[in-house]
């Protein structure tokens, strides 16, 4: 099995808001935990998004599609850790805050930026249905599907980010090199 392809695949959680910050992704009161797995029950507990209920909306999700400036605020890597503890290893957004984006790739996870109009079309076309996405790093395509409807969206990540994903993270990459 090609890990780099199939690692990033599954059910999509749509979060229709800009500027979702890392305090919302994992509140500071849980930063006293020293294991990543312990963060699992608290993911998105404080998300300010009407209609969203973490108790019912997170189960089985493997990817998030959201809008601009996702992961702004605190540098806490507990945010990607809490995502990973819940099986979510890919976030697709209009844009990311720098530290969050770097943290994702540093953990060997995938943060994909798409133009705002493409994000808009994904919300319009898929957010109402149970949707799955698969990222194919070799072909540079995201395959979305829902109710028999499919769409292929091209994406790109930098050579450096790709190297981090392949290495399994920044520590693995840096330890061999520096």
């Amino acid at each position: 099995m090609d890990q780099t392809t199939n690692h990033f695949s599954g059910s999509v959680l749509f979060l229709d808001r800009n500027d979702i910050n890392t305090d919302e992704i994992i509140p500071a009161k849980y930063l006293t935990e020293i294991s990543k797995e312990a963060l699992k029950p608290y993911l998105l507990e404080d998300l300010d998004l009407p209609g969203f209920d973490p108790d019912t909306d997170l189960a089985g999700r493997r990817a998030i599609v959201t809008r601009a400036n996702f992961g702004c605020g605190s540098s806490r890597e507990h945010a990607p850790w809490a995502l990973e503890a819940n099986g979510i290893r890919m976030v697709i957004a209009g844009s990311f805050a720098r530290i969050f984006r770097q943290n994702m790739f540093n953990c060997g996870m995938l943060a994909v930026e798409l133009p705002a109009d493409v994000i808009e079309s994904l919300f319009a076309g898929f957010s109402g249905s149970e949707t799955t996405v698969t990222a194919d790093l070799e072909s540079g395509l995201l395959h979305f599907s829902a109710n028999g409807k499919t769409e292929e969206i091209p994406f790109s990540i930098s050579e450096f980010d790709r190297a981090l994903v392949k290495a399994g993270g920044w520590l693995e990459f840096a330890d061999n090199k520096y």
Partner: protein, 429 residues
């Protein structure tokens, strides 16, 4: 060929590798650590059989977010950090009694110099750019590699230059200026960029005010905020560098190599007239939801918090005490002040400032980050409102379901007296 900005000069002087594209691996002059983001890195290094540090003299460690420990979990975080510092021979470790808010304590100890590269697992590390350094917040993995290898990878940063002209009005401070800038360019207005703060208003600012300014650069997404090193910088650092230079003038001449070239290429240059800025506060859950205090006048608050890496320094306490002098805070308000370091606490004691706060009805806590991120020492309840000199008004930031209004220490002190948001000029003569 165009000249270089400050961060370009610093990057080029610290170049280690260019692994791909615009990513640059740079060497680090200082790696700062606290008990919230470091323990996972420490445990991971140990699990990999790499329980070592690249240079114990370049790693500075503090327990500051929850201190003294409030429960078994926070006690364990402190213990992991403490034991690690001891077994790796890290001399600069600041424990209970000697500890303070990292971004106030480390500058006070002289750990940051012009031209330095600094990382910490804390987004407000950008504060240290006030010294003409490249200082960036990072996650735990970047911190872990920094601890082990003394390097970090960044995109070669584009620079936004913000020139601040005019003069700040009475009752208007560095906090109001940075809130104005955040309101103007938005919470992702400088993502992946470095901001250089320039102009006569910055030139006249104390180091404390410059730190307040640079502290909130991350609230517009910036990697670092930078002020140019000058006489003020050298004067602040002189006790720490006097053995390295014959005179302050010689130190100043040396610092000047970190000034931008006259023909440096900026992505954007923005001019701001400080004279037009009124006292400001925030109204929503994003730091760019900024409004004049006059438009928020009479908004009732339950708690007033003065402290944090943004506004817990001696200058901030002086300004607030000046407003509070010989007055009592409103019966409906809980006032909390956290001097950001033991040094600041001592200075405030010597100047009678602590007495002024206590006479006014404030609770004085030990130095800690606690309340700012809703961890300890002043968490607010659901539905409560806090007027705060901190840096983030995110939903739930100071306590689940609470509302935070960011403001200067002067405005916060006036708000404590009135019981609702109001202008400090009403109390300041």
């Amino acid at each position: 060929m165009a000249g270089k900005t400050v961060s370009e000069k610093i990057f080029d002087a610290h170049h280690v590798d260019n692994p791909a594209g615009d990513m640059h691996v740079i060497s680090l002059d200082a790696v700062f650590c606290h008990e919230i983001t470091t323990p996972v890195a420490i445990n991971d290094l140990a699990a990999r059989g790499k329980d070592r540090v690249f240079d114990p003299e370049k790693i500075m460690v503090v327990i500051d977010h929850v201190t003294p420990a409030k429960d078994s979990k926070t006690a364990m975080q402190g213990k992991i950090l403490r034991d690690w510092a001891r077994r790796n021979g890290i001399p600069r470790f600041f424990d209970v009694g000697r500890n303070g808010v990292c971004h106030a304590l480390f500058p006070e100890k002289g750990f940051v110099r012009p031209g330095y590269t600094v990382i910490m697992g804390d987004s407000h590390t950008c504060t240290h750019g006030a010294f003409g350094a490249f200082a960036a917040g990072v996650g735990t993995t970047d911190l872990e590699v920094g601890i082990l290898k003394g390097v970090c990878a960044f995109r070669y940063p584009g620079t936004m230059k913000i020139v601040v002209n005019g003069k700040l009005s009475p009752g208007v401070y560095a906090k109001d200026l940075i809130l104005h800038i955040i309101g103007k360019i938005g919470v992702n207005g400088a993502t992946d960029r470095v901001i250089e703060f320039a102009g006569p208003v910055i030139d006249e600012m104390s180091m404390e005010s410059r730190m307040t300014l640079c502290n909130m650069a991350v609230e517009v997404g910036a990697t670092s905020g930078i002020c140019y090193p000058d006489e003020t910088t050298v004067e602040y650092l002189w006790p720490f560098i006097r053995d390295e230079y014959d005179s302050p003038d010689a130190a100043l001449a040396d610092c000047r190599k970190w000034l931008p070239d006259p023909d440096a290429a900026y992505e954007t240059v923005m001019a701001i007239d400080a004279s037009e800025i009124p006292p400001l506060t925030t109204f929503g859950y994003r730091p760019d939801n900024v409004r004049p205090v006059s438009e928020m006048e009479k908004t009732p608050v339950d708690q007033v918090y003065i402290g944090s890496c943004t506004n817990g320094r001696i200058e901030d306490l002086r300004v607030a005490a000046n407003v509070l002098a010989e007055k009592k805070i409103a019966d409906t308000v809980r006032g909390i002040v956290s001097p950001a370091t033991p040094g600041i606490f001592n200075q405030a004691l010597a100047e009678g400032i602590i007495q002024t706060f206590m006479d006014a009805g404030f609770c004085v806590t030990n130095p800690t980050c606690g309340a700012c991120l809703g961890m300890s020492c002043g968490v607010i309840a659901e539905g409560e409102v806090c007027a705060s000199t901190t840096n983030r008004n995110f939903y739930g930031r100071m306590g689940k379901g609470g509302m935070v209004h960011l403001m200067s220490p002067a405005t916060a002190a006036a708000t404590a007296l009135a019981g609702y948001i109001t202008n400090s000029n009403l109390y300041n003569g």
